[in-house]
């Protein structure tokens, strides 16, 4: 190119342009006003996703904990017989001792412990309240049987052995309770996956909507890029990077808010024994932290892919002949 002005009659004071040309400007800068609604929607979606993930992880851990706690254990209940009160107490305690000896001799059994009366009384508390329980009230005696790991003792087998020794006992291997926990956990997990699925669909829909709105708002820029020979993937990269960055920031804010809310709610409602009323208390683990960190990245990835596809589709449908 020649180094002379074509319009020689135009007198311009030519400044040293180098000093005025600053760093490269963004072709598609962040537009606070137009991007804010999408940003808020994404913050809310990230918040909901994180809460759902934390609740799911916490509930799953509690269920697994319960199951592990109950597996490998039997509870034997030696019931008092109905006759004279003094005799009853003596006979029940004697039966409990004999039952302990019989069960301890089995290969599958690791330990047998006769639980103190307080345990039996505690079981009556929901019905009798704090009122003191009379000493002469016939109470069953509970035996806690710990099995050797990876060994199983059939309830029926133990019951027969005790019955042969003249001991009337109820034996509970907690299998029914475990089944209930499994069923409840599965239902909760299913609901969580459903909620997460809906959140992902909402994120995709929000991203498509925002990309289309962005394309409409930036139509002139798209036309100029097409005019100067920008390939569709160049234009798509501009928009998807912008939206993905916005999604990551919104995701980080939403996830952090959810984490904070979870901790605060956990602190407000937890009791000294680690339970929130009848539910297990919320205890954060390292996995939870990983989940919280993953939310913004995952959200950004969903938005990047969705907006990329939307831009390419729109460009080919509306701009490229």
């Amino acid at each position: 190119m020649v180094n002379t002005l074509v319009d020689t009659d135009i007198q311009h004071t030519e400044l040293t342009a180098q000093s005025h040309v600053m760093k490269t400007q963004a072709i598609l800068p962040y537009d606070k006003k137009n991007d804010r609604p999408l940003f808020m929607v994404l913050v809310i979606l990230a918040f909901l996703a994180t809460i759902t993930l934390l609740a799911t992880a916490s509930g799953y851990r509690a269920a697994v904990g319960w199951q592990e706690n109950l597996q490998g254990k039997l509870t034997v209940q030696i019931k008092p017989t109905i006759s004279g009160a003094d005799k009853i107490t003596h006979n029940t305690a004697d039966k409990a001792e004999r039952a302990k000896i019989i069960l301890a001799e089995l290969d599958q059994v690791k330990t047998v412990t006769i639980l103190p009366d307080e345990h039996s009384k505690a079981l009556l508390e929901p019905w009798l309240g704090d009122a003191s329980i009379p000493d002469d009230l016939p109470l069953p005696i509970l035996l806690d049987v710990q099995l050797n790991s990876s060994q199983n003792l059939e309830v029926k087998q133990a019951a027969i052995l005790l019955a042969e020794a003249g001991i009337r006992a109820d034996i509970d291997d907690h299998s029914q309770w475990n089944k209930e926990i499994k069923r409840t956990t599965s239902a909760a997990l299913l609901l969580s996956y459903l909620a997460l699925g809906l959140i992902i669909i909402a994120s995709v829909a929000a991203s498509i909507f925002a990309t289309r709105a962005g394309l409409t708002a930036q139509r002139r820029l798209m036309d100029v890029l097409h005019q100067v020979g920008a390939p569709p993937d160049y234009t798509a990269r501009l928009l998807s990077t912008r939206f993905a960055t916005s999604g990551f920031k919104a995701g980080a804010l939403g996830a952090a808010s959810a984490l904070l809310a979870s901790v605060l709610v956990g602190m407000m409602f937890s009791t000294s024994n680690g339970f929130s009323y009848f539910l297990p208390g919320l205890h954060l683990s390292l996995t939870d932290i990983y989940l919280v960190i993953a939310v913004p990245s995952f959200l950004a990835l969903i938005i990047a892919i969705t907006s990329w596809r939307t831009v390419i589709k729109t460009l080919y449908n509306e701009i490229y002949p």
Partner: protein, 248 residues
């Protein structure tokens, strides 16, 4: 009617560009264009423009000038006939190839199409950024070109602060920064006064002298240099040609 300007107008002095430009001829053969089921906006268009030529397309508003240009710069496809561009039949060009072909063309439109949030420098540098060039590689070229079109002192300015003439010169600078084989301008003087219009036409003439095939659509015939090729269009049909001499 078939008009072969290349046969009528020897343009020997316009071969300043290298052999890469040799396929920059534009050939229309019985080209027609219509939107959906409407009547033809262009019909039976035939002409050939050789590499390095400078041609003005004239005609009243609505004659089909812009549509004709859009077919050349691949913003639309013809409904029938054949258009040869860069040695290829455009109907056979896959749309994925269009960006690469567009980078061999510079396009100037009446409404400038500058990006308001980018400085004049960044607007002019846009085709180079899109082509993946590094800023350090193109900075001097852009500043040199801005100086050449008389915008050296405005490189930092944003388009809304420019006058109509400045905007159009910035748009022209952007169109030619990649040293295109073909320069297409649609009513480039439409939004400027007649004095600036004459200056812009001189600018196009200078660019054509460097070997760029130049096609300008205008309804203002007073600005056309005496020695220019003219393609006249009315009601979507070529109605005549005036052949200039030795452009460039």
């Amino acid at each position: 009617m078939h008009i072969n300007i290349s046969q009528q107008i020897p343009n020997a002095e316009t071969s300043a560009k290298s052999s890469t430009q040799s396929d920059a001829n534009i050939h229309f053969e019985r080209v027609g264009f219509r939107y959906d089921r409407e009547g033809e906006i262009l019909s039976d268009i035939n002409f050939s423009l050789p590499p390095g030529s400078m041609t003005f397309i004239i005609g009243p508003s609505g004659a089909g000038k812009s549509t004709l240009l859009k077919l050349i710069y691949l913003n639309m496809r013809q409904s029938r006939g054949h258009i040869t561009l860069f040695g290829r039949d455009t109907s056979q060009i896959d749309r994925k190839e269009i960006p690469a072909l567009k980078r061999r063309m510079g396009i100037v439109l009446q409404d400038f199409r500058l990006i308001d949030h980018l400085s004049v420098f960044e607007n002019v540098a846009l085709p180079l950024r899109v082509a993946g060039r590094k800023r350090a590689d193109y900075k001097d070229d852009v500043l040199g070109l801005l100086k050449w079109v008389g915008l050296g002192h405005r490189s930092h300015a944003l388009p809304p602060t420019l006058s109509g003439g400045e905007k159009q010169r910035a748009a022209i600078a952007r169109a030619v920064i990649t040293k295109p084989d073909i320069l297409i301008a649609d009513e480039p003087t439409g939004n400027v006064d007649s004095d600036m219009g004459r200056r812009l036409i001189r600018l196009f003439t200078e660019l054509n002298r460097l070997g760029t095939t130049t096609i300008i659509a205008t309804h203002n015939t007073t600005l056309i240099p005496e020695d220019a090729n003219i393609l006249s269009i009315e009601h979507g049909q070529v109605t005549g040609t005036i052949s200039g001499e030795h452009i460039g």
